[in-house]
Amino acid sequence: MHDGDERRRLGHGSSIATDADKAARECVQEALGGRNPESADLMVVFPSVEYDPHVFFSAAADAAAPAQVVGCSSHAGFVSGNSGAMDAVAIYLPADDLSFGIAAVAPIGTAVFACAQEVTTRARERAGDQGDHAVLLVLSDGLAGDQREIVRGSYSVTGATVPLVGAAASDDLSMSGTYQFAEGEVMSNGLIAVWINAPYPLGIGVEHGWHPIGEPMVVTRAEGNVIHELDGRPAAEVYLFQRSTDPAPAQNYGSPERTFAADTFNHPLGLANASGRLDGRHILGRTDEGALIMFGHVSEQSVVQVMAGDADDLVRAAGRAAAQAAEQLDRPSRGALIFSCTGRIAPLGAQVAAETAAISAGLGDVPVAGFFTFGEFARVTGSTGFHNATVVVLAV
């Protein structure tokens, strides 16, 4: 490999150190791989919520200076070439001929659409207006209401020609709060937009690997992210009937709702989209009345189907996502960011690293890294862009 290629190569680093400062410096240094960062470069970091976010992000910004640093909290991170889930991950994107415009807003509260519009507009301005091949990367608070509104708000600024990619920040499934970091600020309930201008196309892949089982059902009553009824009957009852296997032996996740969520990771709901494909939606819990609480909002009268998939299905899907992304590139990839749903960890089981490896291999054995999310953003064509139970690849 030429020296120039090595300088441009995406770098990743990880750490399992318990000290936030140490973990941040370790993963950032590893991602830099001895290279000196420049102010136009981008460092993306994904620490677990167990770290003090102020200490971690501050140390990461210091270690990566003068590069721009963005990031968000994660359930866990991962990097290619390493077999386990990582507490802290850093991805170094040397700017080379890319330019990055970063904007952030917090708190987003209920003004999700307006905030998405605002950060997207500002990010575009800071990237020096729109390039020939622009991509919008967003990192949101995974607990911030209807994530579809982020896609809608950003879309109203980008229009159909700019693909959208990104993820909703996650925590340790306690649902107590996520963090975002950009422009030197630590936020909770924040939204970050990174406008990426490139002189050549970037690649985006999105796949989940689940297949439907049972019969398609109509959501006959829903409010926000709660499905009350499927085919006119209590949703949880219908869901449990439709899945052909009993829930796994209950693990104690601290509360019945969280245990239910964990037990349903192997069988997310599929939401039929216009093309007839099913978009994944994980289940967050159930109410005493027998309603299903979902990750993400579900519209009334939409069609859903219970889905199943094993580790092999999910790993193959990751390979397909990488292939999609590679197809859009007109040159060899120099690495990729990956956003994989937290709900995929349990079904992947021992093959968690295989998902990462499949993507790396699909792009020509390049460095890839990412984190397990509370929702993934990916829109290239069509108008739906919020996903769940899915793996999303942004190849550069």
Binding site: T161, G276, S299, T381
Partner: protein, 492 residues
């Protein structure tokens, strides 16, 4: 044990694989069919709870885009010079041209019978700003509700996914559903607006119903019109001997004329002039500036407000007239006993509070009965009127001169001590009384010198007691009359 040849195993494996993929494809097809069957219901459900037209259209373009796999969806509404973008999904907001878009919608190609036209991009003529998003398939749908043309729905797909014939039919239903939602929202807004105006009218009427002072009434009416009516400024003119004179104004109406000519021209398109009259009698006129009365409802609302204004004004004017009658002596136009006692009570209270004094002059004409008997009641009335005028003139505007009844008059002068009353005021009054009066009789003019007796009472001397004060003044007058009589007898 029979051995199955490898070729057979291979064939069976392939068969199983084929059947599995057929089953999966069939399942996917049925899911897709069901999803398509419910997407109109999804749209109706999403639009159902909305009552704001902008909100409906913005939601509609987003829902249609997601459900029909379109990258761009827009609603265009008719404008004078083309169409306006009412809502859009998929254009970068800054790429949209400003103002009306001409030659965009395929107006001639869509009809009630064929409300949707869909096909590859080559079948359509689209402007460059729209082609910049590189669409490959286009669909236009007419938005029609109750035979009213509300606009067009445009869908663009950037991927190579043509609009199928089933989708074309669905889009016709989608178009009419969106139009219906917009129509319902407009009806809702209109009925809410009517309800709001009725409420405003009710509140304004209730507030104005208690106003009985004309000055306050005109002020309140003008303010009510600006607050409740769709107007920027209101001026009220009251009809009097000098024409229609500005009585009150509110809002942005600084340069209105102080007197409104009978044929005042109404030049500006948003200026309106109403007669404030009941049953043909005009009390004044109402001038409105910046009146937004484009619809029948708005105009009718303004007319209602003007009617309410006229009613309130009439009531206040009537009340003012009745009050004047109740407080005024009809013959002399002086305050009557009721008003005098009212003012006296208030004045005594003030004096008590500030430890000042006041004087009451009790006046009784001398020989009034004889003049009445000799020259008739008309002549007596003339004497009373002339005396009233002279009395008022002798004590000045600060004093209250009143007729108690018959030939009894009183004067109230605040701040007047007993000494001052005796030394300065009483002689003035006496001169007024002693001045001869010329009375017009049927057969000529007669001059009479009536004269009169004056009794003075002061508040301080009577302990700020209104009754005691009046009794003291009356007694003093009686004593004076007796003295004048004795003097007269002595002189005679």
């Amino acid at each position: 044990m029979r051995t199955v040849p490898d070729s057979e195993v291979e064939r069976l494996t392939e068969e199983v694989s084929r059947l599995r993929s057929e089953l999966a494809a069939s399942r996917a097809a049925s899911t897709r069919a069901l999803a398509r069957a419910t997407r109109l219901a999804q749209l109706v459900s999403a639009l159902g709870q909305r009552t704001d037209v902008t909100d409906i259209l913005e939601r509609a373009v987003c829902e249609v885009a997601e459900q029909f796999g379109a990258d761009i969806v827009a609603v265009f509404t008719p404008a004078r010079d083309g169409v306006l973008t009412a809502a859009q999904w998929g254009f970068a907001a800054r790429d949209l041209p400003a103002g009306a878009l001409t030659h965009l919608a395929p107006t001639g190609q869509l009809s009630a019978a064929a409300p949707v036209k869909a096909g590859p991009i080559a079948d359509f003529v689209l402007p460059p700003w729209l082609l910049a998003s590189r669409p490959r398939h286009v669909a236009w749908s007419l938005l029609t509700a109750r035979e009213e043309h509300l606009g067009y729905l445009l869908l663009l797909r950037r991927g190579d996914t043509p609009f199928e014939s089933a989708e074309v039919q669905e889009l016709a239903s989608v178009g009419s559903r969106i139009a219906l939602a917009v129509d319902n929202a407009r009806l809702y807004v209109r009925s809410q607006e009517q309800l709001r105006r009725l409420q405003q009218l009710h509140n304004a009427t209730a507030a104005l119903a208690v106003v009985v002072d004309v000055d306050q009434a005109v002020r309140d009416i003008a303010e009510m019109l600006v607050a409740a009516g769709p107007v920027e400024g209101a001026a009220i003119y009251l009809t009097g001997p000098e024409g229609d004179v500005l009585a009150a104004r509110a809002g942005t109406i600084d340069d209105c004329p102080s007197v409104l000519e009978a044929d005042e021209p109404v030049e500006l398109p948003d200026t309106m002039l109403f007669d404030l009259g009941i049953d043909g009698s005009s009390l004044g006129r109402l001038l409105l500036i910046g009146a937004h009365a484009d619809t029948v409802e708005q105009r009718s609302f303004l007319e209602h407000l003007a009617d309410v204004g006229a009613l309130v004004l009439e009531r206040a004017t009537l009340f003012a007239r009745i009050r004047a009658q109740a407080e005024t002596d009809v013959l002399t136009s002086l305050p009557n006993r009721w008003l005098f006692m009212d003012r006296l009570s208030a004045a005594v209270a003030r004096c008590r509070q500030h430890s000042t004094d006041l004087a009451v002059f009790f006046i009784d004409l001398d020989g009034f009965k004889q003049i009445n008997d000799r020259y008739g009641h008309d002549a007596g009335d003339q004497l009373l009127v002339q005396t009233a005028q002279r009395l008022s003139g002798s004590v000045g505007a600060a004093a209250t001169t009143a007729r108690l009844g018959g030939d009894e008059f009183v004067v109230l002068l605040e701040g007047c001590t007993a000494d001052h009353a005796e030394a300065y005021v009483a002689p003035n009054i006496q001169r007024a009384l002693d001045t001869p009066s010329r009375l017009q009789l049927v057969d000529g003019v007669v001059q009479v010198r009536g004269g009169g007796s004056i009794g003075i009472g002061t508040a301080e001397a009577t302990g700020y007691d209104v009754s005691a004060l009046m009794r003291a003044a009356d007694a003093a007058m009686y004593a004076a009359k007796q003295a004048r009589r004795r003097l007269s007898l002595a002189a005679g």
